[in-house]
Structure formats: C-alpha cells, structure tokens
C-alpha cells in the first residue's frame, strides 16, 4: 500500500546523491540535505467536494451533518426509555423475547444508519485536466473561431431508448446516466437518489441498500416499540404520578408521530426498488408516459419485480471511486516531471511486483 511512499524515498535519495556528486545543488529541485522525507498528503486532504473526513480518510461525511445527531438521539433515547421502563414489566408479564427482539432491531437500525451516513454514496471523482480538455476538443469543430461553451447535453441510446446526458460544469465531464450533481455536497453521485438530511449524506449507488435497510428496520422498530408500549399501558392496573407517567409514555408519542412518515417512506422506496427507479427520476417524471411516446419507459428496469429488487439490493457492491487514502505525488517535484512520475510510479509498482490497485481501505 505504500508504493507511492517508496517512490518518494528513492526519489529523495537520488536527488541527494546527485547534488553531492555534482558539488552544486540542482537548481530545479529542493535539496534534501536533512534527509527529511516531506510528509505525504493523502488524496482526501485535497478532495474538492464539500465533505469531511475522519480517521485519516476512512470515514466520510457530508459537510453539513444535517440532523443526523437528532436522528441518532431520537432513536437512542426512545429505545433506552423502552428498555428501561417497558421491558421489565413485559418480561415478567409476557415473554423474555421482547427485549431480545427489541435489542436486535435497535442494533440493526443504528448500524444501518451509521453505514448510510459514513459510506461514500458513489461519488464520481472530477475529471482531470487532460480528460476535460479532451472532452472539449471533441465537442468543438476545428477551425471554429468563436469560443462556444460546451453543449450541455449529449444524446445516447440505452436499450434502444434515447437518453440525454448532461454536462457537469463543476466536474467537467458528461454525467453518466442516472448520475446527478448534489449541490449540498458539491459532488456528482452515481445513481443519485436524494440528499437525506436525516442521515446527513447523499443516498446513491453505494449506500442505497444501507438506506433501505435503515428505513425498513426503523419501521419495524418503531412499530414494535409502539405495540409494546400500548400493551404495557393497557396491562397496567395503577397509574403512577404525573412526571413518571409522562416519561414512560414519551416513546409512545415519538413513535406515534414518526411511524407514519417512516412507514410511508419505506413503502415509497419499496415501490422504487421494485421498479428500479430513483427518487430523483420519480420526482422529475423522467420515465412517465405522459408524453405518450411509445418508447418512453424506464430503460434500466429488468421488467420483473423480483429481479429489480435483487439487482438493487443484493447486487454486487461497487467499489469507492474516490481514492481517499491514496497518496498524492509530492509538491516539490516540478510539474514537468509530473507526467513522467505517472510512468515511474507504474514502473515502481512493476518492480515491487504489486498489482496496480489504489490503496483505499475497503470499508467504504
């Protein structure tokens, strides 16, 4: 994982030997007289989007965490109150399975929530200058004297249906199909669903299954707590004093208000999964047949509810395309040599017999 680092060591030593042998410091390189290896920066430190990174690039969050603390707080507080007040009563009167089921659901909810928030949703890295220049070159006709901005759309055929690809001026590339640019995170995200403030992150190709399991498990969890608290209150014979009563009933109130929205959201996303749509496409009506054309329909659907569900939720997990923990080439190499650096780093990989994989952690 440190092939970039080993190249730097070689490069620094080479420069030093070279400078001493010649007797004069090379003017274009900084002399490494103290044998100090410059601190290598990782790519997350220069990431252009509005994201925050923790644990040296292992954890990624959107710039505004939105109301993620509120979401977590509500879930934890409600569950703790449920375990503290309702479980003892229900264990003695009903069955010991109740806190067990509650505990399992609670763990599922919290884990899914954290995975949705802390996973890279499918961010597309921005086009490098060479690639951006190549795209612009393809668009202009040679000999055009007037500067025209790149046309905003390009039409392609997907499964015999015409789809328009838009040009993203921030990322300097034509967005792949189903990709959208999130203005809150300032990134293009693949299979962009929506930016969820409750979760504090975009929901896209890589974390949609986590998001779906979060809302489904949360529906079960809130329904379960709601049912248990109602059972508890109906089975109790005496009522306590006002404050204790109110605290014990607060899970009920919280669950009552949230259950409708969470259940509704789960139902809506189940429909989206079954028809292989994203929230973005559904809201914009991209594939609705109101235009009356014969060939307007979702080109991505497999025309089978089962296969759509399996493809979206149980499909292979795509890798993270932003190499957060990879090393940047060091700053003190002159830009002329940057192109050769690519070749040399390729050869360094070749020499050390390592496969050409970016050194990103494979948690997200």
């Amino acid at each position: 994982t440190c092939n970039g680092h080993s190249y730097i060591m070689k490069n620094c030593e080479y420069q030093q030997i070279d400078a001493r042998a010649l007797g004069t410091p090379a003017s274009s390189f900084q002399p490494c007289t103290e044998m100090k290896v410059p601190r290598l920066r990782r790519k997350w430190e220069v990431f252009p989007g509005k994201n925050r990174f923790y644990c040296d690039g292992r954890i990624i969050l959107a710039r505004q965490s939105g109301i993620l603390p509120l979401t977590l707080g509500l879930i934890v507080v409600t569950s703790v109150l449920f375990f503290a007040f309702d479980c003892p009563f229900l264990v003695t009167h009903l069955t010991v399975c109740i806190p067990v089921i509650g505990g399992v659901l609670f763990l599922f909810v919290v884990i899914s929530l954290l995975q949705t928030s802390l996973t890279d949703p499918g961010i597309l890295p921005r086009a490098l200058p060479d690639e951006a220049a190549d795209i612009e070159k393809q668009i202009y006709t040679s000999g055009s004297s007037m500067y025209r901005p790149p046309p905003r759309t390009k039409e392609i055929l997907i499964n015999q249906q015409v789809v328009k690809l838009k040009y993203c001026f921030t990322c300097k590339m034509f967005r792949p199909p189903r990709t959208s640019h999130c203005s809150l995170c300032d990134n293009c995200v693949e299979r962009f669903d929506h930016h969820c403030p409750w979760v504090g992150n975009c929901v896209g190709k890589r974390n949609y299954r986590f998001f779906y399991s979060f809302i489904v498990s949360l529906s079960f969890h809130t329904s379960f707590i709601f049912g248990c608290v109602v059972t508890h209150l109906t089975l109790r014979s005496q009522g306590g004093n006002g404050l204790v009563q109110a605290v014990q009933e607060s899970p009920l109130v919280i669950c009552f208000f949230s259950i409708w929205s969470v259940l509704g959201l789960s139902g809506f996303h189940t429909y989206l999964v079954a028809s292989n749509l994203t929230t973005n496409e559904d809201i914009k009506g991209s594939w609705s047949s109101k235009r009356g054309a014969e060939d307007s329909g979702n080109p991505y659907t497999y025309n089978s509810i089962f296969i759509n569900c399996c493809a979206t939720l149980c499909g292979p997990m795509p890798p993270s395309l932003i190499d957060r923990r990879g090393f940047l080439p060091p700053d003190d190499i002159p830009p002329v040599a940057a192109a050769d650096l690519e070749l040399s780093s390729f050869l360094a990989k070749n020499d050390t017999n390592m496969v050409g994989m970016p050194s990103s952690g494979h948690t997200s």
Partner: protein, 174 residues
C-alpha cells in the same frame, strides 16, 4: 538508427514496433509524454461498465487494431463478470444483509477480487504489448471508471517529431 516514420507504412521494421522502444525501462529513460487518448464508456446496454471498442485514430500508426480491440473486449468481459447479478451475487448480498453489512468490513467482495485481476491484466498488457509500442494504459479505476486513458510516448531522442495529432473525429456513441 533510422527515425521511425509514423506516417508511412514502409520501413524495414514494423511501424507498430519501432526499434527505439523495447521494454518499460527504455520507455522510462528515453520517452516523454506526447498525447493521451481517452476511450469513453459505452452506455448502450445500461449503466453496467463497458468501454467503446471503436479504434481511435491517434493509435492508428502505433498499434494493430485487433490487439487494441482484444484488450478492450477482455476488459469489458472482466467488468461484466464483476457486475454480474446471479446466484453468487445474491448469496453474497443476502448474507451481507443478515449481518447488517458488517461482513463488508472483513471480507473482500467479488467485485474487488475482479478489480485485482483487472489490475494484473493491465499490467501484463502494458509489459508485453503496449510499452514496446510506446503506449501505456492507465487502469480505469484510477480515473473513476469513466475512461481508459492511453498515454502515447514519444522518443526523446527524435527531435522535431510532432506531438500528437488534432482529433476532429469524436468518439461519442451515436
């Protein structure tokens, strides 16, 4: 040594294998980057990862069309294998779901395994076929899986050689 004439097809050696580049080491010491060609994605079958097999004109004098197409087709097959939805991927997905996806922290997914195979394949192709012709393929994963970037190197010793042609033909799929 005669300077290889890239424009004409005559010459003692094959125009595709100029005598100046024999292996990666020579490429490193004597070459400078001249141009880059970008092979774009082919979305005709949906959002699965496929690259266009159309042969770019800049490579016309550098490499045989069949070799290039073989490379791209093999890469497309690898990506199709990685993204295949079938029995094994369902099993992996369901198993991961029951463990609340924590298993992704411990296990290498099939996609990652195939990506490693792709890395090795590109390495091997570069060593055997592309570097002797003064070309270098960059793994698409390092470009966000958007393009296959092929760098064209010029021999530094040959002075006055034109660095890259202006491409007027777009490679966008219609």
């Amino acid at each position: 040594r005669p300077e290889p004439n890239r424009k004409s097809l005559e010459g003692a050696e094959s125009p595709y294998c100029p005598a100046t580049f024999h292996n990666l080491q020579e490429l490193r010491h004597s070459a400078s980057l001249a141009n880059k060609v970008f092979i774009q994605r082919d979305y005709s079958e949906g959002t699965t990862c496929r690259f266009q097999t159309k042969f770019p004109s800049e490579l016309d004098s550098r490499i045989e069309r069949t070799l290039f197409e073989d490379t791209v087709k093999t890469l497309n097959n690898y990506y199709a294998e990685a993204e295949k939805i079938g029995g094994q991927s369902y099993l992996e997905g369901c198993l991961a779901c029951t463990t609340a996806y924590i298993i992704f922290l411990c296990m290498e997914t099939r996609y990652e395994k195939v990506l490693k195979k792709i890395g090795r394949y590109i390495q091997e192709q570069n060593e055997k076929i592309y570097a002797p012709r003064g070309l270098l393929i960059t793994d698409p994963i390092e470009r966000g899986m958007r393009v296959i970037e092929i760098s064209i190197y010029e021999d530094r010793a040959s002075s006055g050689s034109s660095s890259g042609s202006s491409s007027t033909s777009g490679t966008s799929a219609r």
